[in-house]
């Protein structure tokens, strides 16, 4: 029963991880930009959700698509004003550019929101599903807010999948992801595709922040932890694919949960980074490999 509970914990955590990573993976895969800003975008989304809930009473789950909108605009602007200028430069340059922007955004948030830790404390709380109530043999617990956050995250990921498969913009993104020069020859405006993709990545981060706001404490500098997870997930799952982020997130969640059980909670982070190094050595394209974006 203990193992089953740990598995449930791992799957729920994995769902949250997938939601953290999918925007990061999209940007990295399509633009070849390692967007260090991603973690801070998530934090910004979480703050927006926090203030929407405490100030206006808007539930974070309803607010998630609304949080995505300002982040989309911010992402579009950042890409247009900064990233586009250095998009042709080696990956280290764009990484440094986004790193600089992260310092700026983090410190602006520090000034605006102060360093206090906050959290959306849902009232009434969503509570837990105790499976032993219905099946006395199953002593298992499922926290409803984690489950709901995970399901909403999956919904957003599903919408992204549809967008990439069914719309002209989406197909353009996939085309640029596969071969940007061929896409240019086919009449795709790559600059615009880059800007839209970056903005989409930011929007997903904003929505993720709102979904995570009832779960993790919010502070202006929490972004680094999310970014670290996003990195590992992308390498595990395979870069730049929706399914890769999903699989990577779930694998990391389950791995960390069982790692904490078998090796002690102090080693779960070590374990995930050890697996990261192993994957880089043995299977650098990740579990899902590197194919077309979807």
């Amino acid at each position: 029963m203990l193992y089953l509970q740990i598995l449930i914990n791992g799957i729920l955590l994995g769902g949250l991880y997938a939601c953290i990573a999918v925007g990061f993976s999209l940007v990295w895969g399509v633009l070849n930009v390692i967007n260090i800003l991603h973690g801070s975008f998530i934090v910004l989304g979480a703050y927006l959700a926090f203030f929407a809930y405490t100030g206006l009473g808007v539930h974070p789950y309803l607010f998630a698509p609304i949080a995505a909108l300002p982040l989309f605009i911010l992402g579009y602007a950042v890409q247009l004003v900064v990233i586009n200028k250095v998009i042709e430069a080696p990956v280290l340059v764009t990484m440094t550019a986004t790193f600089g922007l992260t310092l700026l955004l983090d410190n602006l948030m520090l000034v605006a929101f102060q360093a206090n830790f906050r959290k959306v404390s849902l009232s009434p709380p969503l509570g837990i599903i105790d499976l032993s109530d219905t099946f006395p043999a199953l002593d298992l617990i499922v926290p409803v807010d984690r489950l709901a956050s995970m399901l909403f995250a999956l919904l957003f990921v599903g919408l992204l999948y549809l967008l990439l498969r069914r719309t002209a913009v989406g197909r353009a993104i996939v085309a640029v992801r596969m071969d940007r020069y061929a896409a240019t020859l086919m009449g795709v405006n790559t600059e615009k595709v880059f800007a839209v993709t970056f903005a989409l990545g930011a929007a997903l981060a904003g929505a993720a922040g709102a979904l995570l706001s009832p779960i993790f404490p919010i502070s202006p500098l929490a972004g680094t932890a999310y970014l670290g997870k996003a990195f590992v997930i992308c390498v595990l799952g395979g870069l730049g694919s929706v399914s890769g982020a999903l699989v990577g997130g779930l694998v990391l969640g389950i791995l960390e949960s069982f790692g904490a059980l078998f090796f002690g909670p102090e080693h779960s982070l070590t374990l995930s980074f050890t697996v990261l190094i192993l994957f880089l050595l043995v299977r650098p394209n990740g579990i899902m490999g590197k194919r077309g974006f979807v």
Binding site: N9, L13, A115, P125, D145, E256, F258, A260, E266
Partner: protein, 416 residues
């Protein structure tokens, strides 16, 4: 703002021209009417170096400490400054942000000692950084007050210049264990989850000792890594171990997450003790009803009642003055920031000099009646002279449950 305040800024500008320095000097003179009207510009200020984590993971604590320093400084400067013999000398605190990175704190302590040539120093935040930076003060013989170093390991190097206002970690675990033993006689099984970090881990180990000493069985003891985003596995194991008393140590973000995940897994226990977070209002705000009946211990609390011979007069007056300045109740981190100030001030005033050797001797003698509590230090420099209060969050408010003289209620059992 005086020109001295600007010095680190000026020196940080590469290639700053003479013109720029002249302009800054002119501006600083123009901006200093406040200090002139106080009439102490004739006396040189007493300069204290304070490396603080104003940005980075520890920034909430860094800001709180700074508020404590500032309240003390402003209160004393409003009366003309610290009385050194027959003259009053204003206080000047030279701050540097070490960005929550301990090695940087040590570098900046070195800079404060050699470049800024401060008279005295306040340690950086926490046991680890205080210990690391204490080497610098020892090398240059600068008496240094540590506001937030409680682990006895900080004081085991035989240094003469370090004085800490926090009593050792076992003064938090021992009274708590006594209360559990007395009020919850059925509690037999203890689970401890400690952050793998100098102070929280040392504290966890003290709780383990205090529990075992009283015949309680420690059924779970694990460490979790710094920056852990998920405690579900550890808590699932704790739940399976069926403890009566759950103890978690760490900082506020860890405690918020652990408390939330305990509820996520339906964990119930007679007693839940968390240190440090519940002393902060932010913990109560962030966890809501989950904060109820969580116990904690801390070195100072607005409910304590000490009469003092320092710049504040009493704990109650301190609380009042803090509220007036910052529009919030002071917590123990704010208070300890002010406590190192008043102790240093009393030592200088008693010594009648800012001579480091004399001040060090006076500090070592102890016997300071402060709003933070009576302060005297043991032979290695750690405070040993007061009893830290134990408290419990009851209906969203912290209630002191120990010691008896300041107690506001009894321990309530049951956390769900």
């Amino acid at each position: 703002m005086s020109l001295r305040n600007l010095r680190p800024v000026v020196s940080a500008v590469p290639g700053a021209s003479h013109l720029r320095i002249a302009v800054l000097a002119a501006v600083s003179v123009l901006m200093a009417p406040g200090s002139m009207t106080c009439g102490y510009t004739a006396e040189l200020p007493i300069r204290i170096g304070a490396p603080l984590p104003l940005t980075g993971a520890l920034s909430p604590e860094g800001v709180k400490l700074q508020q404590g320093y500032e309240l003390w400084k402003d209160t004393v400067n409003a009366t003309g400054g610290i009385a050194v013999g027959t003259v009053k000398r204003p206080i000047e605190i030279v701050y540097y942000d070490y960005q929550s990175a301990t090695p940087k704190a040590v570098q900046l302590a070195e800079k404060l000692a050699t470049d800024d040539k401060v008279d005295f120093m306040f340690s950086p935040f926490g046991s680890g950084a205080s210990k690391a930076a204490s080497t610098v003060s020892e090398r240059y013989g600068i008496p240094t007050l540590a506001p937030t170093a409680s682990s006895s390991e900080v004081y085991d190097q035989g240094y003469k210049n370090l004085f800490g206002t926090f009593t050792s970690n076992d003064t938090l675990s021992e009274p708590m264990a006594d209360i559990v033993k007395a009020k919850a006689p059925n509690a037999k099984r203890v689970a401890i989850l400690a952050r793998n970090d100098l102070y929280p881990l040392a504290l966890g180990q003290e709780f383990e000792k205090s529990s075992k000493k009283r015949g309680l069985e420690v059924v779970y003891f694990e460490k979790y890594a710094i920056n852990t985003l998920d405690h579900a596995s550890a808590l699932t194991e704790i739940k399976a171990a069926k403890p009566d008393w759950i103890i978690a140590t760490g900082y506020i973000n860890d405690m918020i997450l652990i408390r939330k995940q305990m509820a996520d897994l339906g964990i119930k226990a007679q007693i839940v003790t968390m240190i440090n977070a519940p002393a902060y209002q932010e913990f109560i705000d962030a966890t809501g009803p989950l904060a109820d009946n969580v116990t904690s211990a801390t070195w100072w609390h607005p409910a304590v009642r000490y009469e003092s011979k320092d710049a504040f007069g009493s704990s109650a007056k301190y609380t009042e003055m803090f509220q007036k300045k910052f529009n919030a109740l002071p917590d123990f981190t704010n208070a300890t920031g002010s406590s190192v100030g008043v102790v240093l001030q009393m030592a200088i005033e008693q010594a009648g000099s800012v001579d480091r050797d004399k001040v060090r001797e006076t500090l070592a003698k102890g016997g300071f009646d402060t709003f933070f509590g009576p302060l005297s230090f043991n032979s290695v420099g750690q405070a040993v002279s007061y009893v830290p209060p134990v408290f419990q969050i009851q209906k969203g408010k912290p209630v002191v449950i120990y010691p008896d003289v300041i107690k506001g209620g009894e321990l309530q059992l049951g956390v769900r």
